[in-house]
C-alpha cells in the first residue's frame, strides 16, 4: 500500500507544483484581457513619469476619455474597480513621489453600492500587497457592512472565511484560478501582451463595446433598485480619496460618466435623486473639490455597449472634459 500511496503522492505533488508555477509565473498567459489592463495600472504605479493629471475610476471612465485628445493626462482606471482600489492607486502614486496636481475620479453608481471585484479581479490580478488586504478586511470587519457582494452579508463568522479566501488567492492557490485556466489553457499570452502594449500606447484608454449604438440597459437599469444606497466600506474609501488628495494639495474632480438614454429612462427617479444626494453630501464634506452630482445622459448612438461609450461618444466626452477640467 505504501508504494501505491507514494505513487499517488508523486503525481499529486507534480500536478500541484506545475499548477502553482503556472499560476504564479504565467498570469499573462491564462488570465483574460482584463488582467492586461490591471497590469498596466500596476506597472504604471511602480514607475514615475511626467504626467501631473491622472484619472482614477472604473471601466466607464476608461472607455470615455482618450488622453491623446486631452493632453497631459494619463488614465489609471481599473475595469471593475471601486473606490477601494482608487484609494490605493492614489496612495501608491503619492508614495512614488509622482508630481500629481489633479485627479479626475469617476465610479458608476453600482460600483459604489457593491464590491464584486475584490476577489475576482483586485486580488487575482495582484493589485494589493498583503498589508493592504489586511487593512481592507480589518476595516470591513469593524464596519460590519455588506462587503463585496450583496448576497454575502458580512458577519463575524464570515470574516474568517473571507480572510482565508483572500490569503489563499494572494498565495496563488490554483483552486481559485481554475476557471481562468480552463478557458485559456495558456494560449492568451500573445493577445494579452498585444492588449497591454495597446493600452500603454493609448495612455490607459481602452474601448469596451464596439457597436455603433447600444440601446441596452446598463447594470443600474437592470437591477431596477428603488434607492441608491452606498456601501459603507466603499463610502469610507471614497472619502479617504478626497481626504488624501486634500492633504497633498491635489485637486479632485469627481465626474459622472454618461449613461445611455434607455438606461436613464429605466432608472427610477428616487434612485437618481438618492444618488445625487449622496454626491451632494460628498461635495459638502470636501468643498475644495468639484463634484458633478447629476447623471449625465447621452443618446444611444454614442454607446458601444449598454454601459460604455463607443469612440464617437469618447470624442464627445473627451472634448467636454477638456473644456471643463484640463
Amino acid at each position: 500500500m505504501k508504494f501505491f500511496l507514494k505513487k499517488i503522492l508523486i503525481i499529486s505533488i507534480l500536478t500541484g507544483s506545475i499548477l502553482v508555477m503556472i499560476v504564479s509565473l504565467m498570469p499573462m498567459h491564462f488570465n483574460s484581457r482584463l488582467y492586461a489592463r490591471w497590469k498596466y495600472v500596476n506597472d504604471e504605479l511602480a514607475s514615475i513619469d511626467k504626467f501631473n493629471k491622472v484619472t482614477i475610476g472604473d471601466s466607464r471612465l476608461m472607455a470615455a476619455l482618450d488622453p491623446k485628445l486631452v493632453g497631459n493626462v494619463k488614465q489609471l482606471c481599473l475595469p471593475g474597480g471601486t473606490p477601494i482600489e482608487g484609494f490605493y492607486t492614489l496612495s501608491k502614486l503619492i508614495e512614488n513621489n509622482a508630481k500629481i496636481d489633479t485627479i479626475v475620479v469617476s465610479y458608476s453608481p453600482n460600483h459604489l453600492e457593491i464590491h464584486k471585484s475584490f476577489f475576482e479581479k483586485a486580488l487575482k490580478y495582484e493589485f494589493y500587497e498583503w498589508q493592504e488586504i489586511y487593512e481592507i478586511l480589518h476595516r470591513a470587519d469593524s464596519l460590519k457592512t455588506i462587503f463585496w457582494a450583496s448576497e454575502y452579508r458580512y458577519s463575524e463568522h464570515k470574516h474568517s472565511k473571507i480572510s482565508l479566501k483572500a490569503r489563499l488567492i494572494y498565495l496563488k492557490n490554483p483552486f481559485y484560478y481554475r476557471s481562468e485556466l480552463a478557458s485559456s489553457l495558456l494560449l492568451r499570452g500573445v493577445s494579452n501582451w498585444k492588449e497591454y502594449d495597446r493600452i500603454k500606447n493609448n495612455l490607459g484608454y481602452a474601448a469596451f463595446g464596439n457597436k455603433t449604438q447600444s440601446g441596452g440597459k446598463n447594470e443600474e437599469a437592470i437591477s431596477a433598485k428603488e434607492l441608491f444606497v452606498v456601501d459603507d466600506l466603499i463610502d469610507f474609501y471614497i472619502k479617504k480619496i478626497f481626504a488624501l488628495a486634500e492633504r497633498h494639495h491635489i485637486h479632485v474632480h469627481y465626474i459622472s460618466t454618461p449613461m445611455n438614454q434607455t438606461s436613464v429612462q429605466a432608472i427610477s427617479q428616487n434612485y437618481k435623486t438618492s444618488y445625487s444626494n449622496y454626491l451632494l453630501q460628498l461635495s459638502a464634506i470636501f468643498p475644495s473639490s468639484s463634484v458633478e452630482t447629476t447623471i449625465l445622459t447621452y443618446p444611444n448612438n454614442y454607446f458601444g455597449d449598454p454601459s460604455h461609450l463607443n469612440y464617437q461618444g469618447t470624442l464627445k466626452f473627451s472634448n467636454r472634459l477638456k473644456k471643463l477640467y484640463f
Binding site: 500500500m1 501505491f4 503525481i11 507534480l14 500536478t15 481554475r178 480552463a182
Partner: protein
C-alpha cells in the same frame, strides 16, 4: 454526492483510510462500513430516499429467503418481488407520464381535480431496482442461492461506486465478492486509479465541455444553420458517451481500489461497425440484463423470424423507456430497433464480434467507412434522446436535412478557444481509446510505457481534470 466534487474527494480519502487501514482484517466490518458509507453517499443527495433503497433491500432479502424455502408459491413470491420493485419504479418514474399520456389521449378520462404526483425522481432508481430484481429472478431460476447475510446483501444493493449509475451488477457476480476476504492489491489499485483518471477525463474534460455547446445549440436550434446543428448532434454523441462511460470507468476503478471487480459496461462503442455491434459495446450491463431477463424468456432468437422481430422491438422500446418517462426515449429505442432489423433479417447481427486485426489497407478502409456510418446512424438517434420532445427533435432533423444558401454558415460566436479545445480533447480521447481498442478501457495502453512516460501522461491528465472540474456538473445518467 458527485464523483467530481470536493465532497467526494474528502469522503473517499476518509473511507480509504478506515477501510484499508483500520478494518482491513475484518470482512464483516468492511461490509458494514461499505453499507454505512454508501448510505451517507446516497443520503448526501436526499436522505429521504434512503428509505426506498432500504425498502427495496428488505423486500428482496426477505423474498429471496422465501423463494428458497417455498415449494408451491415460488411464482407468487417472484411476482411479489417484481411487482414491488417495478411498483416503486413506476410510482416515482412513470406514473406522471402514464397519466399525462392518457389525459392527452382522452381528456375526459379523469376528473378535473385529478392531478399528477408531485414527486422528485430518486437518483439512480432504475439502476438499483434492476439490480435487486435480477437477484430474485436468479434465485427463482436456481442460478444462485439466497444470501443469508443481510449486511452483505444490503452492501451489495447500495454499493456506492455503482449505486446511482451502474454498471447494473448481477448478484451472481458481485455478491460473492462481499463474502471473501479482501486484500489490498497494488497492481489492482494502480489499475483502478488509472481507469478512474480516464473516467474523469472523459466526464470533466470531454463531456462537460461538449455540454456547453450542446446546450447552446439544442436550446436555440432555430437560430443555427444545418452545419451547426450537425455539429451539435455530434458533440452530444461525445457528451453522452464521455459522461456515461466516464462514470462507469470511475465506478469500476473505485471498486478495484476497494478490492472488487465490476462488469465492463462500455467497450469502445463508437468503433462499432454495425448497430448490433454497437449494442454489444454500449451500456453492456443493461443490454445483457434485457437479453437475459426479457429477450431470452420471450424466446430470444430460437423462435420464428416474426417472433424474433417482435422480441427485438420489445427489447429496444423497453430499453428506451427504461431511460426515461418521455416519448423521445421510446422513439430513440424504436429507431435503434429499425436500424437493427435489416441485420436480423439478413442474419448478419453477429458478423462483427471481434476487431479486425489485419493490417490490410482495403479492410481498414472498409471498416472505417462502416464505423463512420454506424456513428452517423447512432448520432441521428441521439437527437431524439437529447430533445425535450418529439416535435423539437423532428424540427431539429428537418433543419439538418433542409439545404439552403446558409447551410454551412457557422456562427462566429461559437468558434471560441473553448470550442477548439473541445474538438482537440475529443480527438485525444478517440486516439487514446483506439490505442486501447482491444483492452478494457481507454488508458490501458499506457501500462506498456516507461515509468517516466506514465508519470507525464498521468500528470497531464490530472492537470486537465483539475482545471476543468471548477464547475461540478451532474452525470446525465443520474436521472435514469
Amino acid at each position: 454526492m458527485l464523483f467530481n466534487s470536493l465532497d467526494f474527494a474528502i469522503f473517499f480519502v476518509v473511507f480509504f483510510i478506515i477501510y484499508w487501514l483500520i478494518l482491513k482484517n475484518s470482512k464483516k466490518n468492511q461490509n458494514l462500513f461499505i453499507l454505512f458509507s454508501s448510505y451517507i453517499f446516497y443520503g448526501w443527495w436526499d436522505w429521504r430516499f434512503l428509505s426506498l433503497i432500504a425498502l427495496s433491500t428488505i423486500i428482496d432479502f426477505t423474498l429471496g429467503q422465501l423463494l428458497s424455502v417455498s415449494r408451491s408459491h415460488k411464482k407468487f413470491i417472484l411476482s411479489l418481488s417484481i411487482v414491488s420493485n417495478l411498483g416503486i419504479l413506476v410510482l416515482f418514474k412513470y406514473f406522471n407520464f402514464f397519466i399525462d399520456s392518457l389525459k392527452a389521449l382522452n381528456p375526459t378520462m379523469f376528473d378535473e381535480g385529478f392531478s399528477t404526483l408531485n414527486v422528485i425522481l430518486p437518483v439512480g432508481i432504475s439502476f438499483y431496482t434492476f439490480q435487486t430484481l435480477s437477484y430474485s429472478i436468479d434465485i427463482y431460476n436456481k442460478k444462485i442461492d439466497p444470501e443469508q447475510n443481510f449486511i452483505a446483501f444490503a452492501a451489495f444493493v447500495s454499493f456506492f461506486p455503482q449505486l446511482v449509475a451502474g454498471p447494473i451488477e448481477r448478484a451472481s457476480h458481485l455478491l460473492p465478492q462481499f463474502m471473501v476476504k479482501r486484500v489490498f492489491s497494488y497492481s489492482k489499485s494502480v489499475e483502478g486509479i488509472r481507469q478512474m483518471l480516464w473516467g474523469f477525463f472523459k466526464k470533466v474534460v470531454i463531456a462537460d465541455n461538449c455540454a456547453h455547446f450542446v446546450n447552446i445549440i439544442f436550446e436555440n436550434y432555430n437560430d443555427y444553420s444545418g452545419a451547426v446543428l450537425i455539429t451539435g448532434a455530434i458533440l452530444f454523441a461525445f457528451q453522452i458517451y464521455g459522461d456515461f462511460s466516464g462514470y462507469s470507468d470511475i465506478a469500476i476503478g473505485l471498486s478495484k481500489i476497494l478490492g472488487f471487480d465490476l462488469m465492463k459496461n462500455f467497450a469502445f462503442p463508437y468503433f462499432s461497425r454495425d448497430i448490433a455491434e454497437f449494442w454489444r459495446r454500449w451500456h453492456i450491463s443493461l443490454s445483457t440484463w434485457f437479453r437475459d431477463y426479457l429477450y431470452i424468456p420471450l424466446g430470444g432468437s430460437r423462435v420464428s423470424i416474426l417472433l424474433q422481430i417482435r422480441n427485438t422491438f420489445i427489447i429496444f422500446i423497453v430499453s428506451g423507456f427504461w431511460h426515461g418517462a418521455n416519448w423521445t426515449f421510446i422513439v430513440w429505442g424504436l429507431i435503434h430497433a429499425c436500424m437493427y432489423l435489416p441485420l436480423l433479417l439478413f442474419k448478419s447481427n453477429r458478423k462483427n464480434v471481434e476487431f479486425d486485426k489485419s493490417l490490410n489497407l482495403f479492410s481498414t478502409l472498409i471498416n472505417s467507412v462502416k464505423m463512420l456510418s454506424t456513428f452517423c446512424l447512432v448520432t441521428i438517434a441521439w437527437i431524439f434522446f437529447r430533445s425535450a420532445n418529439i416535435a423539437e427533435a423532428w424540427s431539429y432533423l428537418d433543419r439538418v436535412s433542409t439545404f439552403n444558401e446558409n447551410y454551412f454558415v457557422f456562427d462566429p460566436d461559437l468558434i471560441t478557444l473553448r470550442f477548439v479545445f473541445t474538438i482537440s480533447f475529443i480527438f485525444l480521447g478517440i486516439y487514446s481509446e483506439w490505442l486501447s481498442r482491444e483492452l478494457n478501457y481507454g488508458l490501458e495502453w499506457v501500462k506498456a510505457k516507461s515509468n517516466y512516460s506514465q508519470y507525464v501522461i498521468y500528470t497531464f491528465l490530472a492537470i486537465l481534470i483539475f482545471v476543468y472540474s471548477s464547475s461540478e456538473s451532474e452525470f446525465i445518467y443520474f436521472q435514469f
